[in-house]
């Protein structure tokens, strides 16, 4: 009896301990399982979201270009269906519009072209679906160098986007076509496009040649990452041609707006911005 007592005692003592231990361990493992599972799900979904975000192109149209090009006028025409008089912008405008046929929503970002604040366009680049470089076709022959300077920056930014982002569609808008006189064999739009293309190619070619083989100067402070060297002008050919630009396809569109005239709301009649609208609608 004596022997049985401890023997009885022993399991009774021994019993609870493993039971408790096992219960804790079971609970623990259950928690752990749930915890790890949920964590895994969370991480996976986060990864998925992040990837989706990275993969998706943005939903913005970026209007860039030199001052007095007509960016804000284009914005107001698209947004308010009428062209308002404008002056030099001091800050970025952002507006949501919907494009007529399918009511596709689009955010337009109009970045001022003043040299001191134009660099803001880089902040919006990650969200850009399309970039439109607006050029005043009537003054391009005078301002060619300054416009090309800005365009160079834009091209450089476009080519140095992270590979995870779908590169935005790029177009050069030859604005204020109506100020050019149409000749017999070309409409003013074609004329404007040709002029803008020729002058910008010439200026960019100059810049390309000047940077080739030059010894750049280091910029102050932390070296590396974005040196003074500005790339983005790589071409398959020797001379710079938009058709051969390695950064992607460059579309050219001729546009014009007139202050005081109401814009065409439906797609039936054509106005100065119709080509541009078509291009926007056709964006993937």
């Amino acid at each position: 009896m004596d022997g049985s007592h401890p023997s009885h005692e022993a399991p009774s003592i021994g019993q609870p301990t493993p039971e408790v231990v096992s219960a804790v361990s079971v609970m623990n493992s259950q928690y752990l399982l749930f915890g790890s599972l949920s964590l895994a799900v969370l991480i996976l979904s986060l990864l998925f979201l992040a990837r989706k975000k990275a993969q998706s192109r943005g939903n913005s149209l970026l209007l860039v270009g030199a001052s007095d090009g007509g960016k804000t006028a284009i914005l107001s025409t698209l947004l308010y269906k009428q062209t308002l008089p404008t002056h030099t912008s001091m800050q970025t405008n952002m507006a949501n519009i919907s494009l007529p046929p399918s009511n596709k929503a689009l955010r337009i970002i109009d970045v001022p072209g003043h040299p001191r604040i134009r660099d803001q366009f880089r902040e919006y680049m990650s969200d850009a679906k399309a970039v439109a470089f607006v050029v005043d076709a009537s003054t391009i022959s005078r301002n060619g160098a300054a416009v090309a300077d800005h365009l160079h920056q834009v091209l450089h930014t476009l080519t140095s986007l992270p590979p995870s982002q779908v590169p935005p569609a790029f177009t050069i808008v030859a604005h204020k076509c109506d100020l050019l006189k149409a000749s017999t064999n070309a409409t003013s739009e074609q004329l404007a496009i040709n002029r803008v293309r020729t002058i910008l190619e010439r200026e960019l070619d100059k810049r390309k040649a000047s940077h080739a083989g030059g010894v750049g100067m280091e910029s102050l402070g932390a070296e590396g990452e974005e040196g003074a060297e500005l790339g983005g002008l790589e071409c398959s050919g020797n001379e710079f041609k938009f058709a051969e630009w390695e950064g992607g396809e460059v579309a050219f569109i001729g546009t014009s707006v007139a202050v005081g005239k109401a814009a065409v709301v439906d797609g039936e009649k054509r106005d100065g911005l119709s080509d541009f609208r078509d291009w926007l609608v056709e964006l993937p």
Binding site: S67, Y80, L84, S89, K206, A209, S210, A228
Partner: protein
């Protein structure tokens, strides 16, 4: 008397504008409009704290409404002393915001579309966006009459004041005593009878006086009056162009038109005033506005009633305080949660830090920022101006988030500094050299000589800042880039200056270029000893460079103090005889308050004397400084304020930074770096 008046959004959309002369309306349509140049050259450059901007004979004054992001600009002939412009702007601002508040809020919201998430303000904006017909023309149509009335009031008042100043006869002395104090009364407690009687009295007297004065000019004035009604039509030119010739007739004619108009408008405005006096509207307007969104109806009545009262009331109060706008904004705010929720809202907004910034909130923070900037060796004057313009941009703005005022100011300062330091012209020296060389070569194709025009750079500055040293660094860099460089020793004053350059040239020609063992013949010195005329030597050196196929001429000048007028004249002569492609000012990073003085005086002297002297074949063009080199950068650690002072003063970029003892110690400035250094504690 005004030439142009416009109300616009900071994003560039002009909401309403009016030109009073054909010339002004013509220029307003082009990119050279005075308003655009005001924004380009003053507001974006961080000079918004200055009170006046002058351009093409116009003087411009402006004011902001920061929560609605509006700019009010008035332009007038610079020679006119218009005392009422500030008051007019303040009154315009209050009235415009008051009348169009809901529309403007929707408008501003439409230009701040967030990507997809809609904030409180955005929701109201986008909700009405689809239903909202953006009928700008009809919305602001009514504003024309309101503006006319307002302007008329101010012009009448100004004319009266001037009259009383001009005529020192008894009745005239009597006038101000009688006319100004009542208007004071009127502003503080608007009673019903007082304003109308005073108005009538004033007008009657005014009309009497003007009729006497203006008898011969009757028909012209009438024509002008008609023209004024039309929006910047040709008729208005008839009135203002001859008027601007001399001061008195124009004033007289103007007052004449006022008098006439008062006659016509007096009856309706009187009756309106009876029903819609100031206090009544104050109480009533918020509710009216909230319930009915129909703006046009509101405009019509409110404008007439508030016009005089509100205008004068504002005028008195504006000078010392901002609160009037704030009160108005608060009273009429429709969709701002903070104000409508009362105490709870304010508590909430205090927790989240969302509030409207006022002068009182900003003053201590801005003062601290100013001290901080000065500690970083920014010149006092510049620090004050920068901080002031940052304050100007922030007053009335609503801040959100946890940071509070400090963060808001810091961010605003950071953007302001970036804006000031970012060059507005290309700093790519190599590109402009290559462009010039290729241009001169292509233009010479048909020519017989085939000589290219060298690119010339003049280095100027005070004594001992390192002109020669940095010239040699630039020379080294150019040689590395395959240029042939001629150094012209135009410092014919300091002993050893020529020898110093000779040593540099010897060193540079021994250094290898792109793997080649030496660069002999790539760099030469053009020297003519001491005591000669520097301008002559520079001229000779350029023609020498042309003959010997050099690409670049670097002209070293003697250092001189900015106050030494004969020497500054000599420098201007050197510049105007040779018309160099670039004039580079060399300044040291150690300089503090002196930087402002140095640069302004060098720039001024170069411009004045080069324009006046008219060397260089009659094309006496003003030439100022084109760029700067900041030297001894390595000695100042993070106290880099001199860079800010220098760029602010000239508006020109810093092309290079000298930061050491060897030829390679030349750097390009990186803006973000400098901003960081200045803001760091």
């Amino acid at each position: 008397m005004l030439d142009h008046c416009s109300i616009s959004h900071k994003g560039g959309v002009i909401l309403w504008s009016r030109s009073f002369t054909p010339a002004a309306s013509q220029s307003a349509a082009s990119s050279a409009s005075p308003v655009s140049s005001l924004i380009r050259d003053a507001l974006i450059e961080g000079r918004s704290a200055e009170s006046q901007f002058e351009k093409d004979g116009y003087a411009l004054k402006w004011t902001f409404v920061n929560d609605l992001e509006l700019i009010f600009v008035v332009a007038y002939q610079r020679i006119l002393q218009l005392t009422y412009v500030d008051d007019l702007l303040a009154a315009l601002k209050t009235l415009f915001v008051k009348v169009f508040q809901p529309f403007l809020a929707t408008f501003v919201a439409s230009l701040h579309a967030a990507s997809s998430s809609t904030t409180l303000l955005g929701a109201s904006g986008s909700g009405s966006e689809t239903a909202f017909a953006w009928d700008f023309t009809s919305t602001f149509e009514k504003w024309d009459t309101v503006f006319d009335n307002l302007l008329k009031t101010f012009e009448t008042k100004a004319a009266q004041e001037r009259k009383s100043r001009l005529k020192h006869i008894d009745p005239a002395v009597h006038t101000p005593v009688e006319s100004t104090p009542p208007s004071d009364d009127q502003s503080t407690f608007p009673s019903q009878s007082n304003p109308t009687t005073v108005d009538e009295e004033q007008i009657a007297r005014n009309v009497q006086a003007l009729k006497n004065r203006l008898k011969p000019k009757g028909p012209g004035g009438a024509a002008g009056r008609k023209g004024r009604r039309g929006v910047g039509g040709a008729g208005s030119g008839l009135e203002s162009v001859p008027g601007s010739d001399s001061d008195t007739p124009s004033k007289a004619k103007k007052s004449k038109t006022k008098a006439r108009r008062k006659w016509g408008d007096e009856a309706p405005s009187e009756s309106d005033m009876a029903s819609l006096d100031f206090s009544y509207i104050q109480v009533d307007s918020p509710s009216t506005k909230q319930t009915t969104m129909s703006l046009s109806a509101l405009v019509d009545q409110a404008s007439m009633g508030t016009r005089t009262n509100e205008g004068m009331y504002e005028v008195k109060d504006w000078d010392f305080d901002v609160p009037p706008t704030r009160n108005v904004a608060a009273a009429t705010a429709v969709e701002k949660p903070g104000t409508s929720l009362g105490a709870l809202g304010s508590l909430f907004s205090r927790i989240t830090g969302s509030k409207t910034l006022t002068q009182a909130d900003l003053a201590p923070v801005l003062e601290g920022m100013k001290q901080h900037l000065m500690k970083k060796n920014v010149a006092k004057e510049i620090a004050e101006k920068v901080v002031e313009s940052v304050g100007e941009d922030l007053i009335g703005r609503r801040i959100t988030g946890w940071g509070g005022t400090n963060t808001a100011v810091r961010n605003a300062l950071s953007t302001a500094l970036t804006r000031i330091l970012t060059p507005k012209t290309s700093t790519d020296l190599l590109l402009s050299i290559r462009t010039k060389l290729s241009e001169s070569q292509s233009s010479m194709v048909g020519g017989q000589t085939g000589k290219k025009e060298p690119y010339s750079i003049v280095f100027v500055g005070v004594n001992g800042v390192g002109k020669s040293t940095n010239l040699s660094k630039v020379c080294f860099w150019l040689v590395q880039n395959g240029m042939r460089v001629l150094i012209a020793a135009c410092d014919t004053f300091r002993s050893g200056a020529v020898e110093q350059l000779r040593v540099h040239v010897r060193n540079l020609s021994m250094l290898g270029v792109n793997g080649a063992t030496d660069s002999k013949g790539r760099v030469e010195l053009y020297e003519k000893g001491y005591g000669k005329d520097a301008a002559g030597i520079a001229k000779e050196s350029i023609s020498y460079a042309k003959d010997h196929d050099f690409d670049v001429v670097l002209i070293d000048t003697a250092g001189r103090m900015q106050d030494n007028e004969p020497l500054m004249r000599a420098l201007a002569k050197l510049v105007s005889t040779n018309s160099p492609d670039k004039i580079i000012f060399v300044g040291e990073a150690l300089v503090g308050n002196e930087a402002v003085d140095q640069l302004t005086k060098f720039d001024r002297a170069l411009r004045d004397f080069s324009a006046a002297s008219g060397y260089g074949g009659g094309s006496a063009k003003e030439r100022g400084i084109d760029g700067m080199i900041v030297t001894k950068w390595d000695t100042v650690d993070d106290k880099v304020g001199a860079a800010l002072s220098m760029t602010y003063v000239t508006g020109q970029p810093i092309i290079f930074v000298g930061c050491g003892q060897t030829y390679t110690d030349l750097r390009q400035l990186r803006v973000s770096n400098v901003v960081q250094a200045i803001l760091d504690d």
